[in-house]
């Protein structure tokens, strides 16, 4: 019954986590988004979104090993939860419904000749 609150950027992030499956950690997510969508992603925005998503319960995280490039700092890997999947589907269905409801004419933009 409750609406699933999922912002635009958050949706992108959670989709990217889905894409990366078991490889979804901070830098990977950032690079993936930048490559696929050709848009610059700041660390701040992305980590904020990750924190928010985790607070909402749409993703969960587990700690991985540290590497040398990270000076031994561990990596945090993210996974989508069942709730998160529901949220994504809800979002997708809502969008599709809205798309279907647009009359053909509105999208045929041959007005000014």
């Amino acid at each position: 019954m409750k609406k699933y609150q999922l912002g635009e950027f958050e949706e992108i992030v959670i989709l990217t986590i889905g894409i990366l499956y078991k490889e979804a950690y901070g830098v990977a997510i950032k690079n993936e988004i930048e490559t696929r969508l050709s848009r610059q992603v700041s660390m701040g925005a992305m980590h904020s979104a990750l924190v928010r998503l985790e607070d909402k319960g749409y993703i969960k995280s587990f700690t991985g090993e540290g590497t040398e490039e990270r000076m031994g700092r561990p990596r945090r890997y993210f996974q989508i939860t069942a709730l998160g999947k529901k949220a994504m589907e809800y979002s997708k269905d809502t969008r599709n419904e809205l798309w279907r409801a647009i009359p053909k004419v509105a999208l045929d933009l041959k007005i000014i000749g």
């Binding site: 950690y25 830098v27 950032k30 701040g44 925005a45 904020s48 924190v51 540290g66 700092r73 561990p74």
Partner: protein
């Protein structure tokens, strides 16, 4: 490596849960960028990233981290603090006691200063009322007086009226008021102190009227009484409209037109029992009716308007008298200038030097403020010292807490809360102490202060005070204890190095310096008082009765009184004089003699007496002789005091002539000197005596002086004397004063200072000793093992005692040395204000130094001996 500052910045603000992996991400990305775009750009990007990461989701949450210091933590701190206090009852007592004493002292002084500053605030127009003062330049000095001439009132009103809302002339007086006898109830007669004041006076001083109104002085034959006097005169009857006789003179009948509330004790006009119209005074005294600019006999009070200030009003009225006396060359030469003396300075800055306010009670307020501050400081120092000393015992506790993960700020708040606990307890004890001792303090200080339970400012300032003291006193222990290295402490290799002892030593030296300074100061104050008291007075004070002539009935009765009183057998001599022996009521200038320096304009005391005066008060003659009724030429003769004789410059002044013009009491112009007496100390015992002349007259004699027979006691003599007075002057109440009591009043202010100073010195020493006691016991405890070993190796108790006490004695000796120059500087400055003063001798310093050392030894010896006599088996076995 990415820029260090921003890396640390990030680590600081980031939430601990997130910091690790986000930092890892940052570093990874930085590494990539470093390869791709070079160091500078990578650095720049890094900085941007760090700044953009400063977001709500990532910053450490404030609430989350307050959880370090939450309610249960504080409860635990207080519990542990309380248990600590109970564990060492002796130390806790010393700590809390010392601090409580310091706080109580500060509270007393605070109350006293508050009372002094609140003086006169009872009057609503407090900030705009002033007294007009007249400055005269004489002999290179400027004298200031509030005595003004009668024409000045109208002058100020007409020419300068736009500056003043009110201009009121007044003359204070003592009068006998009597109710008429009605039927059986006889008349009630009282001598009351009051003021003749112009009609606008009650309004200006915003008298709080209980009956009637403030305009009750319109009718010249009216009077306003204060509540207590109304009760005394009329009992419970309604006093309004009743008539009273003033001075038994029919010309001065008055009707009661109003009753005002008594003034509180901390106001200038406390004890002003009635107000009567100024016109009444003028109508009853023809000499006051002429409007002149030179008949100085009254005071003038003004209230300035809202639009002006005291300075500008003073400037405007400066020449008000000068402009009207241009023809009088003598007067013009002393340059009379007017200036205003604001009400807010009446109490605290009443001393005038060179024509301006130069201090007065305000200096004592400052002095006591500083003293109070110091005593409190001592108590705080004590607290700090003892806490840090004891802290070494808690080193292990600190070590364990740190090892278990306590943050430094937690440790600091633990110790701050402990010190706040102690300070709070000390405050409660101090409050109890102050409220129970307040009556005693009121007597000591001559005030009527009350505990300000209702005053919001009191509680507010107390709270701030507790916080400041707690933080201040607790700061040293908190910072010192929380800095322990956990590993070193737990391993047991923690040694409070020699350097830890130095701050403690500095604190002890400071304490004792302050205490010794105060003690020496007190001693010198008492010395000064005693010095002035021991000064030869020039007459005999004991057994000398003084009666003021307060009504016309007293006059003309001299011979009758003399015979009657001598007949009683309890009176040896009687004489009349214009001033009591404890004051000089009349000073005049206009003296001249052969050989006088024309530039020198002497202003001498001029006192009229009857011929028996010398025998009555006990003059001591240096040259010449006393007045004699038989010698007719004595009526144009002067008896002068030594101070005057010195100024004359004659080898033997007896027989020389002095010319005196301008004094309005004398008939003659030339006087011959009959005798020279030893200076009578009439004014201040701390000042050089005023050169004075005494001469015979039948007029202007306001006081009756009676020499009691030394063989009878005062208790016997008084009723007999009273009986004679009742017979001869039935209309007046029998009010008398004793000369020795009046003289003693002159020391009142200094004695009060002396008493207060001694009380505070005792307290200071007490606090210092408490501190020393605690410190000594701590040191002894710390060196228990060392003492045990020394004993085993063969040291005697005496050796050990000397070793332990020696350290402290050195510190105290050092403080004495430091105290000497400080004391000398301040006391020399204080003594300078007294012309007649004692010397600061080195014996005082030596004596106090010895006393301090002895007190130290006593305090420390107890602990030292206890430690030295302990069984070494026990001391070496402990822990």
């Amino acid at each position: 490596m990415p820029p260090r500052f921003f890396l640390h910045l990030f680590r600081w603000y980031c939430h601990p849960n997130l910091v690790d992996h986000i930092e890892g991400d940052l570093l990874e990305v930085y590494g990539e960028r470093l390869k791709r775009i070079g160091k500078r750009k990578a650095d720049l990007r890094f900085i941007i990233d760090v700044l953009l990461l400063f977001r709500p989701g990532i910053i450490k949450p404030g609430e989350g981290y307050k959880n370090l210091i939450n309610y249960s933590m504080l409860k635990s701190y207080f519990k542990i603090g309380w248990r600590n206090l109970l564990k060492n009852k002796g130390y806790s007592f010393i700590n809390i006691g010392g601090l409580a004493v310091g706080m109580a002292v500060a509270m007393f002084i605070g109350l006293w200063i508050y009372d002094e500053l609140e003086f006169n605030k009872h009057y609503k127009n407090y900030s705009s009322i002033a007294r007009v003062m007249r400055n005269l330049s004489m002999n290179g000095e400027i004298l200031s007086t509030p005595i003004l001439p009668s024409a000045l009132g109208d002058e100020l009103r007409s020419k300068y009226g736009n500056h003043f809302d009110y201009v009121v002339m007044a003359s204070s007086t003592d009068q006998i008021l009597s109710t008429p006898s009605v039927g059986q109830s006889g008349e009630t007669k009282l001598t009351l102190h009051g003021e003749f004041i112009e009609t606008a006076g009650p309004e200006m001083f915003t008298l709080h009227m209980l009956h009637g109104s403030r305009s009750g002085l319109q009718d010249p034959h009216s009077i306003l009484l204060c509540e207590s006097v109304a009760k005394a005169l009329f009992g419970n009857d309604d006093p309004m409209g009743k008539t009273l006789k003033m001075n038994n003179s029919d010309r001065m009948d008055v009707k009661v037109t109003g009753i005002y509330e008594d003034f509180p004790y901390n106001s200038e006009f406390y004890g002003m029992q009635f107000y009567a119209p100024f016109e009444l005074f003028v109508s009853a005294n023809p000499w006051a009716q002429s409007l002149s600019f030179t008949n100085d006999f009254l005071n003038i009070y003004v209230m300035i308007g809202n639009h002006t200030t005291f300075e500008s009003a003073s400037d405007q009225i400066r020449d008000a008298i000068l402009n009207n006396v241009r023809e009088d060359k003598n007067y013009v030469s002393v340059n009379p200038q007017l200036t205003l003396f604001p009400m807010k300075d009446w109490h605290l800055r009443s001393v005038w030097k060179n024509g301006v306010m130069a201090g007065g009670a305000i200096e004592i307020v400052w002095l006591f403020g500083i003293v109070g501050g110091f005593v409190l400081l001592l108590a705080c120092i004590n607290f700090m010292n003892l806490s840090t000393a004891r802290s070494e015992k808690r080193a292990r506790e600190v070590g364990i807490r740190k090892a278990s993960g306590s943050a430094r700020i937690q440790l600091m708040s633990q110790f701050f809360s402990e010190s706040l606990l102690v300070v709070g307890l000390a405050f409660v004890v101090a409050l109890v102490g102050v409220s129970s001792l307040l009556n005693w303090f009121n007597e000591l200080a001559g005030k009527q202060m009350e505990m300000p339970w209702m005053n919001v400012y009191f509680w507010l300032s107390s709270l701030i005070f507790i916080l400041i003291t707690g933080l201040l006193a607790g700061s040293y222990p908190a910072l010192y204890l929380s800095s322990f290295n956990a590993v070193k402490v737990l391993k047991g290799s923690m040694r409070a190095g020699r350097f830890a002892a130095i701050p403690r030593k500095v604190l002890v030296v400071t304490q004792f310096t302050v205490s010794v300074t105060m003690i020496v100061g007190t001693i010198i104050v008492y010395q000064q008082i005693q010095f002035a008291k021991d000064r030869p007075v020039g007459y005999s004070r004991d057994g000398l009765l003084l009666i003021q002539k307060t009504s016309p009935d007293f006059y003309g009765k001299h011979d009758v009184l003399l015979t009657e009183l001598k007949n009683t057998g309890v009176v040896l001599e009687l004489a009349e004089s214009s001033s009591p022996p404890t004051a000089i009521w009349h000073e005049n200038g206009g003296f001249d003699w052969t050989g006088k320096d024309p530039a020198f304009i002497p202003q001498w005391g001029t006192l009229t007496v009857t011929s028996e005066y010398g025998k009555t008060v006990g003059w001591e003659f240096r040259n010449g002789r006393d007045f004699s009724e038989e010698i007719a030429s004595d009526s144009a003769g002067f008896v002068i005091n030594e101070a005057a004789a010195k100024l004359l410059g004659f080898d033997d002044p007896v027989g020389e002539t002095i010319r005196w013009g301008g004094g309005w009491r004398s008939k003659f112009n030339s006087f011959t000197i009959i005798g020279v007496i030893r200076d009578m100390v009439m004014k201040s015992p701390f000042a050089t005596p005023l050169p004075s002349v005494y001469f015979l007259s039948k007029n202007g004699l306001n006081w009756i002086n009676i020499r009691l027979n030394p063989q009878t006691s005062a208790a016997e003599a008084l009723p007999k004397i009273e009986a004679v007075f009742r017979k001869i002057i039935p209309s007046a109440p029998f009010d008398y004063k004793f000369a020795d009591q009046e003289y003693a009043l002159k020391f009142a202010a200094e004695e009060r200072v002396g008493k207060l100073a001694s009380v505070f010195s005792v307290l200071a020493i007490l606090i210092s000793c408490l501190g020393l006691f605690g410190l000594a016991s701590f040191v002894a405890e710390q060196r228990t093992k060392e003492i045990g070993i020394r004993k085993i190796v063969g040291a005697s108790v005496f050796n050990l005692w000397r070793m332990l006490s020696g350290d402290f004695v050195i510190l105290v000796a050092l403080s004495c040395l430091i105290a000497i120059p400080i004391d000398y500087y301040f006391l020399a400055a204080w003594l300078k204000q007294y012309e007649y003063r004692t010397e600061i001798s080195w014996e005082v310093f030596a004596g106090t130094g010895m006393a301090a050392v002895i007190i130290t030894l006593l305090t420390v010896s107890y602990q030292a001996v206890k430690a030295a006599t302990m069984n070494p088996v026990n001391s070496l076995r402990s822990e």
